[in-house]
């Protein structure tokens, strides 16, 4: 008789699936879920021997014993006076908000869209990450409720849609699934905001899948303002059709341990993608941005800019891959990553990866890691600024290239969090 050994990773997957089922899962496409389960068995749990996880340690996570969620209390308010269409989720469960379901527009929880059997959610059928990444497969095998935003051809959202997900205290696991489908010539503005309780120690393993049809436009602002000491892995994938436009801005305002996996696939000619991000880990925290853009068709444009600072003993990771497919000619792809080290024991690992299989393209990349300009600091102080004010102004200036792209309410919030965290207020 053969003895079956259960690896620690398989055991974790089972514990997570069980916790999710207990709390409430959101099964949308059975076939997809089966594929994810199969992938989970064949994929290896990531270790630092894996190039994509070289600086991103998840060994400790393997021991996580998910607890059942505490009752949601003190959910922090998000942009209180901001006029938006709001949807709130707690630990992968729909909490409330303004559901819209009229003339083809659906804005609400994914669970409701599934009940209505809206065909557009089949966008979830293709899942690049779940086929290739252990944690993404873990999420797709046991997904939970998230926002579903479906905008039909030619329509646009009147107000920005603010999706807020909150993770509660303790070893809670949340695996929300967000879906966004923007029709031809349609336009959606979405803010995705995540928070965690200051006693949160669990795992937030969420996914976002978005399709933008011909001439469609999706503008997404992601704000990660998370207290506590939870782990957060975000799988974000975007597919763009011909002449579509995508803007993704990510501000990691505060996080204990966070990995953003972002994948953009330009599957039609004349696609346009802008993806910017900023981060400022301090203390002993960790922020990792892994991005990949596939230019599969000609005449596409992409503009990638990530800027950040690492203070104290914190670590920041940036890895940006640009893939220009065979015969995808006349691509213009620009990537830049700039970092400042604020702490003597802080670290930044930055790596651009360009793979180009077409001969008529313009691609550029640049990575810098530097320190505060001492001469500039002296200049500011010689004008009467305290060291604190001078440093604050320089951080603000450094990040402004990224933060200026957000709407002012978000920019202000993120700048304030950064100033507070560095003790610069």
């Amino acid at each position: 008789m053969m003895e079956t050994t259960v690896t620690p990773a398989t055991a974790l997957a089972e514990r997570v699936a069980q916790a999710v089922n207990q709390a409430g899962s959101c099964s949308v496409l059975d076939a997809r879920q089966s594929l994810a389960k199969a992938a989970l068995e064949s994929l290896e749990y990531p270790t630092t021997r894996n190039e994509r996880w070289k600086y991103t340690r998840v060994a400790k996570l393997r021991d996580l014993r998910p607890a059942s969620a505490s009752s949601p209390s003190n959910i922090p308010p998000v942009l209180a006076d901001f006029n938006a269409h709001r949807l709130t989720f707690v630990d992968g469960q729909y909490q409330g908000g303004d559901v819209v379901n009229e003339s083809g527009v659906f804005i609400g929880p994914l669970s409701k869209a599934a009940q209505l059997q809206d065909d557009r959610i089949k966008a979830l059928d293709q899942d690049y990450f779940a086929d290739n990444e252990w944690f993404a497969a873990l999420q797709a095998a046991a997904p939970q409720d998230g926002a579903c935003i479906l905008i039909p051809d030619g329509q646009r959202t009147e107000r920005p849609i603010l999706v807020h997900h909150h993770l509660t205290a303790g070893d809670v696991v949340a695996q929300p699934q967000h879906v966004m489908v923007v029709g031809e010539h349609a336009h959606a503005e979405v803010i995705l905001w995540t928070t965690c309780d200051d006693q949160a120690t669990g795992l937030m393993n969420g996914a976002l899948t978005a399709d933008v049809a011909k001439h469609g436009h999706l503008s997404l602002e992601i704000v990660q303002d998370e207290q506590g000491s939870s782990h957060h892995i975000a799988h974000q994938q975007f597919r763009q059709a011909e002449s579509s436009r995508l803007t993704v801005r990510t501000a990691t305002a505060r996080a204990h341990w966070l990995r953003n996996d972002l994948h953009i696939h330009q599957g039609g000619q004349h696609g346009h993608s802008t993806f910017h991000g900023c981060y400022l880990p301090s203390g002993n925290t960790f922020v990792d941005h892994h991005t990949r853009i596939d230019h599969a068709e000609p005449d596409g444009h992409s503009d990638e800019l990530y800027k950040g600072l690492a203070a104290d003993t914190a670590t920041a990771v940036f890895n940006g891959k640009i893939m220009v497919h065979k015969d995808a000619q006349r691509i213009e792809a620009y990537q830049r990553n700039a970092n400042l080290l604020l702490g003597e024991r802080s670290g930044v690992y930055s790596k651009p990866e360009l793979e180009i299989y077409a001969d008529d393209v313009r691609c550029s990349h640049g990575c810098t890691i530097g320190q505060f300009d001492a001469e500039a600091l002296f200049y500011l102080r010689s004008r009467g600024m305290t060291e604190t004010k001078a440093r604050n102004l320089m951080v603000q200036a450094f990040l402004s290239e990224v933060l200026d792209g957000f709407r002012p309410e978000i920019q202000q919030h993120v700048e304030q969090v950064y100033a507070e965290r560095l003790g610069w207020n």
């Binding site: 002296f378 500011l380 102080r381 010689s382 004008r383 009467g384 600024m385 305290t386 102004l393 320089m394």
Partner: protein
């Protein structure tokens, strides 16, 4: 107002100032001239509180306060302003935001109320006019992409905004064409006041045609070796420094 006695200073192992003594009264304009490497810019840097220099001997008192006890910020708050020889570019910080932050930081440390937005803008307008700085430069990032002349005009603009008691101009005339020289000098002259002193460091007499000093000092080998009235500048322009240095050598 400013009293420097027997100042010795070095950077690393190199001694640059070797017993410099200088006294500056309120409302006076003193010019410091001297050959390259004599320590002129070192003096300016030390007055502004640059950390790289180590003062090994001597004292600097400003209005009775030991200046060497104050850091760069505190000196600005006390009323000292340095117009940089090489103004620093700070991308991402607008000139206006930079000045507002600086002025209100100084006022806060002096326990004064912040300047209202209206008063601040009125002041910006007046000071910008003084040095003919147009709106575009005011709104752009600090010194970023400015020409040499624009940078120096921006220094004088900042000086006018901050209204220091003592302004140290470190080779403000270097890199200026005749028009810019006239504008910068006009800015400085309009700031002359019985309660404000200037220390003008320059290589050339040309600037002193426009900003007429009360006293001219020659700095050589880390010390003031000769002092005189405004006519000394003309004499230096004609005869160079050698006659003074030779006379010094003879004395020694």
């Amino acid at each position: 107002m400013l009293k420097i006695v027997n100042l010795h200073a070095r950077i690393g192992d190199t001694e640059i100032l070797k017993g410099l003594t200088l006294e500056l009264g309120a409302g006076k304009v003193h010019a410091i001239m001297g050959p390259n490497g004599s320590g002129k810019s070192t003096l300016a840097s030390i007055l502004a509180g640059r950390d790289e220099y180590e003062v090994t001997e001597g004292s600097i008192t400003f209005e009775g306060v030991d200046l060497l006890e104050l850091d760069a910020t505190e000196r600005a708050v006390a009323g000292i302003f340095l117009a940089f020889q090489y103004p620093v570019e700070i991308p991402g910080v607008s000139n206006i935001n930079f000045l507002r932050t600086a002025i209100n930081s100084i006022r806060e440390q002096r326990e004064e109320a912040p300047l209202s937005g209206k008063d601040f803008l009125a002041k910006v307008k007046a000071c910008a006019q003084l040095v003919e700085l147009d709106g575009k430069l005011r709104d752009r990032s600090v010194n970023e992409g400015f020409s040499g002349g624009e940078k120096k005009r921006n220094e004088i603009f900042q000086m006018a905004m901050l209204e220091p008691k003592l302004a140290v101009l470190d080779e403000t005339d270097s890199g200026l064409d005749i028009d810019a020289l006239r504008i910068v000098s006009h800015g400085v002259n309009s700031m002359r006041d019985p309660n404000r002193s200037f220390l003008v460091i320059t290589h050339y007499q040309r600037l002193l045609d426009h900003i007429v000093p009360d006293h001219v000092h020659v700095l050589a080998g880390g010390r003031i070796v000769h002092s005189g009235g405004k006519e000394l500048a003309l004499e230096l322009e004609k005869k160079g420094y050698d006659w003074i240095l030779d006379a010094q050598a003879e004395k020694a």
